[in-house]
Every structure is written in C-alpha cells, then in structure tokens.
C-alpha cells in the first residue's frame, strides 16, 4: 500500500480508544482535539485555527462532529456537556445538556444531534428547539463508544462497551420504550468502529475491540451477519471507499504481534480479502475519518501523528499509445470504473 501523503504533528493527542476526536467536515475542515484544545485545519491550504481551549483541569473535549452543512461543530466534553460552535465565526452558539458523564460519541442527522455517553445513555437533541432534548434511551449496559446514522438518515447504529450493537429506527426512537430494531450480540469486545455501506444501505460494518478483533458485515434487512473476519487486533475505525468496493480498517492493540497491529488495512468487499497494509504508524491507530470527496483518509495515531492517505482515489487512466482513439473509446480499460 502506498505511503501517506502528509504527516501532521498532533502533540497531546489523547491515547484513548473511547473518544472520537477527529472529524473531517464537508467544507474540507478537519477538526482535531489535542489535549484540552480543539483545532481546525483547512486541508486546502493547511491553515490551522485554534477554536477552543478548555482551562478546567478535569474537562477536555472527548468527541467532535461536524454538522452536514459544516456550519456547526458539536464538541462533546468530559464534563458531560455538548457545545455547539459556529465554525465560521469561531464562536460558541449553544450548550446542550442531558448526560451525566463524558460524551464519547456524537452523530448528526440533519438538525438532530445524537450523543452517546459514559453514562450508557443515547440522547437525541433537536438543535432547533428551545428544549432540545427529544429522547433519552438507556439500553446499553456499558459506555456508548460508537454512533453512526445511515446515509438515508432513518437508521442509527450504536456500539457500546457492553460488546453490543443496537440498531434503531429514527421514527421509533422514544424515551418511554426501548424500541430498537436489532441487538447484535456477536462481538466479544467493545464496538467503536461502525460504518454504513455507501452502495447498499442495508449493510453495516462493525469492528470489535482487542479481545474480539473481528470485522463483521451485517444485513440489516434481516438482522443477520453476512461475513466476519478475524484480524486479531483491536479495530478502532472502519471506512468505506465510495469509489470502489473496499473497506479500510484502523487497528490498535493485539494479543499477539500480528501484521495488522497499529496499522491501517484495506479490504476488498464483499470477498473481504486483504488488499494492502500500511506500515507507518508506530503506535496504535485511534481514529479514522474521510475527506468530503471520499478520496483521502485521515488517521490519528497514538504516536501523536495525523496522517493523510490518498488511498481511495480512482485508478489512473492509462493512455495506450498503441491503440487508436476509437479503440480507446471502446476499450473497457479506459473506463473510470475498475
């Protein structure tokens, strides 16, 4: 697999699996929490802006998420609050409450902000409403560490430290009853890595923690596991390639020294055969995020580096000098689809 295109320094990046502190927004701004600060990096010109500094000793940012229009950045805090920031003006807009503990994961779905916490609850906030809290669900028996809305915006997947993945339907989420669609119990460690398939909205990929180390693909029409591969290492992130049928996984600790430990790995979908592995992070990979155009991937590692990888790009179209222009037009080799 090719080298990373750029390496950025990330001093004080928290080495914590249960955080989600790197997010690449649709306006090409990368938000990163380093220690008690939050920075935004404009990827087009690599301009760095310090958005926030938390003075309190016991508080620091624990999760970040850009809204779909990229105007608002939601920052979950150790102190259980969620702060909404206007990214353009670099000003805080609003504080959302509803948790008792650290907010480790955040996911946007239009104007709905879903947050998962160490207090095991999943809370939906409607950021337009004065009383933002719309529903509060406590089904997980462990910390909620992964949250992902489907591309259609009607299904939510939540992963927890209780080794479970819950699937929720947006219209049926309510505080009164636990109306989840499925409870997927096959992982044997915490589930942080969740990714929805961009070409088949019924497919979800999930990755387990150190003890589990499995990437599982689920069919959510039936609630069944389609495929499962053991990587023997902690899976900290999963990303789908929008341009080709591939999945990228970020890996951390392993029980035994394996090839994938501390690396990122590209898999072919649906066969789940390994395409390539990076050999560059010297410590475990903690977070993965994808550029808005879907071509570049950012990985944050415990070696306090952020690496940009151009691995999802379409293949270069090789112009054959031998064949004529008509041949090249008709040739399947020239097709942008692999």
């Amino acid at each position: 697999m090719q080298k990373e295109s750029r390496i950025l320094d990330a001093p004080n990046l928290k080495n914590d699996y249960y955080l989600n502190i790197v997010d690449w927004g649709n306006s090409n701004l990368l938000a990163v929490a380093l220690g008690s600060d939050v920075y935004t990096l404009n990827i087009s010109n690599f301009a760095v802006c310090k958005l926030l500094h938390i003075v309190s000793e016991n508080d620091y940012p624990t999760s970040l998420s850009w809204s779909q229009d990229s105007k608002t950045l939601a920052i979950g805090h150790m102190c259980s609050e969620i702060h909404l920031w206007d990214a353009e003006a670099s000003k805080p807009i609003r504080i959302l409450r509803g948790h008792q503990e650290k907010v480790g994961s955040i996911a946007w779905n239009g104007s709905i902000l879903t947050s998962g916490s160490y207090d095991r609850a999943i809370v939906n906030h409607d950021v337009r409403a004065r009383n933002s809290l719309t529903c509060h669900m406590k089904v997980h028996t462990g910390e909620v560490c992964g949250l992902k809305w489907s591309p259609t915006g009607n299904i939510l997947a939540s992963g927890g430290n209780d080794n479970r993945v819950y699937i929720w339907h947006a219209s049926k989420m309510s505080s009164s009853a636990c109306n989840y669609m499925y409870c997927l119990k096959e992982h044997t460690a915490a589930v942080k890595a969740l990714a929805w398939c961009p070409y088949n909205y019924d497919v979800l990929a999930s990755g387990g923690g150190t003890k589990d180390g499995c990437i599982k693909l689920w069919n959510l029409q039936k609630g069944t596991c389609i495929n499962s591969i053991s990587t023997k290492t902690q899976i900290s992130g999963l990303l789908w390639n929008r341009h080709h049928k591939e999945i990228l996984s970020g890996h951390g600790y392993g029980f035994h020294r394996t090839e994938l430990q501390n690396q990122i790995c590209l898999w072919k979908y649906p066969s789940m055969t390994k395409i390539g592995t990076s050999m560059h992070h010297s410590s475990r990979v903690l977070h993965l995020s994808q550029s808005p155009d879907g071509l570049t991937v950012v990985s944050a590692g415990a070696d306090e580096t952020i690496r940009l990888w151009k691995i999802f790009g379409p293949p270069k179209i090789e112009k054959e000098s031998r064949s004529g222009s008509l041949d090249s037009l008709l040739s399947l080799k020239e097709s942008p689809i692999r």
């Binding site: 004080n12 914590d16 016991n58 910390e143």
Partner: protein, 291 residues
C-alpha cells in the same frame, strides 16, 4: 535537513561511546547500582542529540519538578537541558477502560495502561519544536531513514565489530582495506600517510619517503599517475631477488631504486616541451614583475 541528520549522527556516536564507557567501568551485571541514569526511552536515547545525552546523564529525582517543557532551560552551573514533559501537562484524570490497556503490557504489569510505559509517544526527537498540526512529513521520513540505517549499522556491528570500530575512528575511511591501499598510491598519497598501520605491506610503507620530494617539485597529475607503476615494478623486482637480504637492506635498496627511477622520470619530464614552456613562462612572469 541534511544538517539535522548530521547532528543526529554525531549524537549517536557520543551515545554509543558513552554506553561503551559505562559498560567498561560498571561491568555488565551491577551497572545500575553505581551510576543512576534515567533513560526515559531507550530507543530515543539511541538517536538523540548530545544535549539529550547530557541530560539523561544529569537527571536525578528533580526531573519532574519543572512545570513546563521547553528548550534551553538552564540549571545553575549546568548545561542547557531539553526535554518533553507532556505527561506532566496531561489531564490528571487517567485514561481508563479495557480497550485502553495493551494486552502485551497487561500480561506483564497490570497497572500500566493508556500511554503505555510512560515513554514519549512521538517518534520526533525531544529537541524538535512541536506545533499542533504542523507538517512534519519531511522530518518524520528523515528520522525513519536514519533509524533504518542505524538498525542496519547495528546488524553490521554484530557481524564484525572490528570493522565498525575502524570506521568510527575515521569516518572518511571506507570499510574495504584493499580499496584503501589502492587509494593511497593513486588518489591522495599524502593525506593517507600516517593513517595506515597494519594494512599496507612494508615495502609500500618504505616507498612513501620519496613522495614529499616529488610533491615539492610542482608535479602534475600525469607524473603522479606513473608512481604506482614504478612501485609495482619495484615490488615485483624485489620479490624476485634473493631471500637472504634482511628486510632493512631490502628497504634501503628499494628506496634507492625508487629514488633513481623517480628522478629519471622527473628529468624526462623536464626535457619535455611542455615543461620547458612552463619554465619559460615562469621566468617571463618573474621578469615582467620586475619591470
């Protein structure tokens, strides 16, 4: 960039020499009892600057008391010390959860978690000024290359320690002895004299004496180029002669022969039109300067 690598290279030598010295005086077993050296990261110490090396040597229990990290924080009467204390700046709340404990560490020591063994997480050298989200592609790759070459060097050292020692003594020398001997006669005969001890055969050693004479005579490259041929002929000649001559006599003989041959060559050169022309030009220049 090349400058930084240069510095790293010297640091490695100092650290290696220091480590050898420590081993030499402390012996292998009870080394830690007599001199207490705080080495935060063995890997980092290998590739650090002289400052860093100095710092590890100086450190004591007071290391963690200073509140900030930085460069050139002087100690009274001490050299500038540089270190990173990110662990001091970290939030007091420790990282918890089973996914934050490395299974490898867990099996050995349960208490160690999160940041691992308290060592610096980054692969950057301690003296490198760190700025959030700064592009460090070039320096990281340079460090990777440097470490790879060091690793190769170490492997080489394990194979043949003596050859490495020689290169450490004089980094200009290449590893191959044959190559060195060759260079002496052709490329830089004068600079190499004195460096060689055991590699050059005695005859070749003796043949160095005429060189300065030759050098004084404003010699051009062509005449120097003939010297190895002369040397070669003489050695062959000597080898053919009787074995009863003592090495000293052999030496004297060879000196005489070489002197004779070289002087002949010189005379021949002097008779050449180019030499005559050069001499004339020299005379003209002297005369012109007297005008």
């Amino acid at each position: 960039m090349s400058e930084a690598r240069d510095r790293l290279s010297r640091a490695e030598n100092v650290a290696a020499v220091y480590a050898r010295w420590r081993r030499a005086i402390n012996g292998s077993g009870d080394g830690g009892n007599r001199i207490r050296v705080r080495i935060e990261d063995p890997e980092e110490v290998r590739t650090t600057t002289p400052f860093r090396w100095g710092e590890t040597a100086m450190t004591g229990p007071r290391l963690g008391t200073q509140a900030s990290r930085g460069v050139g924080r002087g100690r009274p009467g001490g050299t500038p010390r540089i270190w990173r204390q990110r662990h001091m700046l970290r939030s007091p709340r420790s990282v918890t959860g089973r996914e934050n404990i490395s299974p490898a560490v867990r099996s050995v020591r349960g208490r160690e978690r999160g940041r691992g063994r308290g060592r610096a997480a980054t692969s950057l050298p301690s003296w490198y000024p760190r700025t959030p989200l700064q592009d460090i592609t070039a320096i990281t790759r340079a460090i990777q290359r440097r470490r790879a070459s060091l690793r190769e060097g170490e492997d080489h050292q394990n194979e043949s320690p003596s050859s490495i020692d020689r290169t450490v003594d004089d980094p200009n020398l290449s590893a191959s002895g044959a190559q060195l001997e060759h260079d002496i006669s052709i490329v830089t005969p004068f600079s190499a004299i004195g460096n060689r001890k055991s590699h050059v055969v005695s005859v070749a050693n003796s043949l160095r004496t005429p060189f300065p004479k030759v050098g004084n005579k404003n010699f051009n490259a062509a005449s120097v180029g003939k010297v190895p041929k002369i040397l070669h002929d003489i050695t062959n000649q000597n080898a053919g002669e009787s074995e009863y001559i003592t090495p000293q006599k052999k030496l004297l003989n060879s000196i005489d022969t070489v002197e004779k041959v070289v002087m002949d060559e010189l005379r021949k050169l002097k008779r050449m039109p180019t030499a005559k022309k050069a001499e004339r030009e020299k005379k003209v220049r002297t005369l012109m300067s007297m005008r």
